[in-house]
Structure formats: structure tokens, C-alpha cells
Amino acid sequence: MSDAATLSGRVRSRRPRFSPAPLLGVATVLGLLAALEALIRTGLVSPFVVPPPSTVLLAGIDLLWHGNGLEALLATAFELLSAAVLVGLIGLSVGTLLYRVTALRRTYEGWVAALAATPLVLVYPFFLVMFGRSAATIVAVGVVAGLPPMVLRTIEGFAGVRPVLVDVGRALNLRPVRVFWSIEFPAALPVIFSGFRLGLGFALINIVGMEFLINYGGLGQLINEHAELYDLPETYACIALVVVVSAVFVAASEHLERRLRG
């Protein structure tokens, strides 16, 4: 590569070298599923307790292809996406505010920490009254559940920025807004994103839980229906689809983190 080629183009992010970790993860899951299949096939585990993974797979494909699986998956994904955007924006703003204003932080940080350990899904009647039996209620509960970790980790992220990095910006006479966006924010980003991913997880759990609870839209409702009819393969297939949604969102958030930092 010539010098000019090396230097042209701003380096966006570190090119990760090949890592066996993701492949190993997939292999482990497949291995465990195969072992389960074998246990059921040999009769050591009753198929009425756990359906064989192959049956679940077929049920899943059938749900996506002929049933309303895809629709439910998209509904849940859309609710999670809405919740994620709100958790990200509100959490970042509130966290930044609490970090900046020491008095607010002293007053409220403890409460936020307490909320993080509370089953916030229990506030659903409130949203039910406000938004009715709708996606809005489900998203609202997801947001409420996802916010505390996001807020806490945002505060922590900013508090952990080494002062000398801020001094570099100040010494260059940058305005505080500029110092914030070009130094403090990228420096705190990894911690903020760990909070965001935690928040995403809480949001998804509560979104699916709410769908189940108020029997509305999404994968949660589908699980509800199939569980009631004791359609075990379909039930497990839906749970697997929740895992798929979760994995896609975590991967997307990692991608976003790299983009924002670069």
C-alpha cells in the first residue's frame, strides 16, 4: 500500500482480527441442541416435557412461513426498536444531566439505582389506563424498564473520563459543547453502551412479558396462545425467535457503537 493510500481516508475503527469466539458460541449451542435431540430420541427425556429441537425447528419454519410468526416477530422487533431509541435518547439526556449537576446527582442517583432493581413491569396498569391495550403501552413499559441501567451507566461513563483528556480539549480553547462531543462523549461511550445493552435486555424482557400479559401483538402473545393450547414445539419456536431478536439488536448496537466512536 502506498503512503497516500494509507493516509487517505480517516480510520474509522480498528479492524478486528479473526476471532473464533462467535463460531465457538454457535457451535456450542448447536452441540447442546444435538445432545438434547439425542436424549429425547433415545427416550431418556420424554418428548412431552421437551419437544425435540428438530421438531421445534420445523414448527418455527412453519410459523414463519405459513402462520403469523413473521408478523409477530416484526411487531416485537418494532416495539423493541422504539423502546431502544427512547431509552437511548432519554437515558443519555437524563444521565448527562445527573452527571453535570452534582446536586441532582446526589439527590437522585440512589433512587435510580433502586429502580434498576425493581420489577417495573408492575407499573403496567398505569400505562394501560393511559394508552389502552396497545403497542404504546408495551413500548412504555419497555422504556421504563430499560432506562435505569442506561442512566446509571451513562453517569458512570462520564465520571470515569480521565480529566487529562478533558484538559487536552480545554487547553485547545475548545468550547464546552465541543469538548463534550469530541472528547467526553467518545471517551465514555463504551461504558454508556454497556448500559444501553443492559437496558435493551430489560426492555425486551418486559416487552415480551407485556405482550404475554395483555395478550397483544408480538411474540409474547404468540407464546401465550400456543402455551395455552399446549403446542410445545410452537411455544419453544417463539422463545427461540425472541433470542434471535435479542441477538440482532445486540449486534446492531455494537455496530452503532463503533460508528459513533470512530
Binding site: 494509507t6 493516509l7 484538559d167 487536552v168 480545554r170 487547553a171 472528547i183 467518545p186 471517551a187
Partner: protein, 291 residues
């Protein structure tokens, strides 16, 4: 926190010879005192320090660990408030960071999320320089500090000394009129330290940048400086201002000369007293704390 009147008398060890010689001061430090209030104790980090720095001068500051050198630099750089006295740049009293001053910090200060090249280009980017131009300029300074080929690496992939060189390049690329460097070569081995010091000196001689350097290395101070300022241990005062009247450029002949050795020995005597006093005090603290 009140500034002294402009006519306040300058103490004898100020190094202020401007009236006599008639040069203009690029930087004036006037009766600066800084105290830190920590819990129940008040630490006087800098005590009534005054000195002038000539335009284009290379001035080193040397003194025992904890004597207030970094504090003094942060005050000059406008990063630390709450001091008494005054700092003037180009005749004007500074309030906060000044665009003519560039700083290299003692602590590791590279941005871990930016590549070497983007780190060095940061100040240029902040000042609104166009992309192609700033990357070009940054690349020049990266190779100047001996990091050619590492442009796309990230700080986590470099050694401590290499990271410090990135920080030096970042400040040099910005071309400040006054350069403050707080132990920039501390993490480097002796050879690299010498070569890089020489390079910084070459740049400084070419650009006539006014340079202040904190160092613990007496040889380095003599190698590079026009004057060396020796500070006392707690409170941080100026103990001596030593003129280094060795010819420039400081070739190998100069560095191995008797005059050079005499300067080193003189500084060492000045410093030894302070260093032992500093050590004795901390030992007293330790044994006192244990008792």
C-alpha cells in the same frame, strides 16, 4: 485570589532581567501562589513564583517530585484557577486557556478511540483545517517523532513511550507560540529521549517557539535549555535560575565538553539539597503516620 498591583516589587530570584537586557517577555509569571485545600490540610503547591520567559527562549524547570511544577504549568496554561498573582502572555493577563499556548501533559493523554494520525490531527480538526491538509500535516509530525508506519494504529497498540510521542506530535502539529511540556520524555529510554529532545530542539530553533520544559533529567535540561529554573520542595519556590551559556547548536562536542559537565554538576548541587529535603519530609511523614 486578588491580583497584585502592577507595580508590585519583583523578588530578587525572579529571573526577571528584562529591564536590564531589554528583551520582550513572551510570558510573565508574576507572584503566582496556589494553595490546595484538602480535607483538614492546606498545601501550598506554588509559593510566590515570578519569572519571565523571553520570546524564543528554551527554559527548563527542574525540581523534586511534588514541588509544584505541574501545578505551575496548569496555571500558565489557564487550566487551573483559584491562584493569586498574574500570568501574562504577550503583555495581557490570561483568564483561562490561551490560544497561543500548547501543552503536553505529564499523564498519558492520547485519545484511545482515535488512530495515531487522527490523534495528531485533532487540534487541526478543531481549528477547522481542511481534511487533506490536516492529515498531511499530522502525517509529517507523526514521522517527525519517529512513528512513521504507525499512523493507523490505535494507542492501545502502542507502548507508553510511543503514546507520549503521539501526544508530543499532537501539540507540535498545532504550532503554538508557547509550548509547555510536562516531562514529555519521562517514559522513554535514554537514547530515544536524547534523540527526540534533539528533534524538539531543532524544531524549536527553526520555529523560534518559546518553550518551557519540565524535566527530572539534569543532562537533558542542560542539553536543551537557555536557562534552567530550579524549584524548591514545599512550598514550591524558585531556588535558582541558571543560565546555560553553551554554544548552539549543542553538538556532540558541546555535550561532552567540560563546560557541559560543570553545568550538570552545578545544577545537581542545587537540586540535591531539595531532593533530600523532600525525601526526608516524606520519610518523617511515614514514620509519623506509623507511630
Amino acid at each position: 485570589m486578588t491580583s497584585p498591583e502592577p507595580s508590585a516589587p519583583v523578588p530578587p530570584l525572579s529571573g526577571d532581567t528584562s529591564a536590564v537586557v531589554g528583551w520582550t517577555a513572551a510570558l510573565r509569571v508574576m507572584n503566582v501562589t496556589k494553595r490546595f485545600h484538602t480535607g483538614r490540610e492546606i498545601v501550598t503547591a506554588v509559593d510566590d513564583v515570578s519569572f519571565d520567559v523571553r520570546e524564543g527562549e528554551f527554559l527548563s524547570v527542574i525540581g523534586p517530585s511534588g514541588c509544584g511544577k505541574s501545578t505551575l504549568f496548569k496555571i500558565i496554561g489557564g487550566l487551573l484557577g483559584g491562584f493569586s498573582g498574574e500570568v501574562r502572555v504577550g503583555g495581557r493577563s490570561i483568564q483561562g486557556p490561551h490560544r497561543d499556548i500548547g501543552m503536553v501533559f505529564q499523564e498519558e493523554s492520547t485519545f484511545p478511540w482515535r488512530s495515531v494520525l487522527d490523534n495528531v490531527a485533532f487540534p487541526l480538526e478543531a481549528s477547522g483545517m481542511g481534511r487533506a491538509e490536516r492529515l498531511d500535516r499530522a502525517a509529517h509530525f507523526v514521522s517527525l517523532v519517529g512513528l512513521k508506519g504507525f499512523e493507523r494504529r490505535f494507542p492501545s497498540e502502542l507502548s507508553g513511550g510511543m503514546r507520549q510521542r503521539v501526544a508530543i506530535a499532537r501539540t507540535l502539529a498545532f504550532n503554538p507560540k508557547i509550548l509547555l511540556m510536562d516531562e514529555p520524555f519521562a517514559a522513554l529510554d535514554e537514547q530515544t529521549r536524547y534523540l527526540l529532545g534533539d528533534k524538539v530542539l531543532q524544531i524549536q530553533q527553526a520555529t523560534k517557539q518559546t518553550t518551557l520544559l519540565i524535566t527530572h533529567n539534569i543532562g537533558e535540561a542542560v542539553q536543551l535549555s537557555d536557562r534552567v529554573l530550579v524549584m524548591t520542595y514545599r512550598p514550591g519556590r524558585i531556588k535558582a535560575v541558571v543560565e546555560v551559556d553553551l554554544p548552539r547548536p549543542r553538538s556532540d562536542d558541546v555535550i561532552t565538553s567540560d563546560a557541559f559537565a560543570r553545568h550538570v554538576a552545578g545544577l545537581w548541587r542545587n537540586l540535591k539539597e531539595e531532593a533530600s529535603r523532600g525525601l526526608a519530609e516524606s520519610e518523617a511523614l511515614v514514620s509519623g503516620g506509623a507511630g
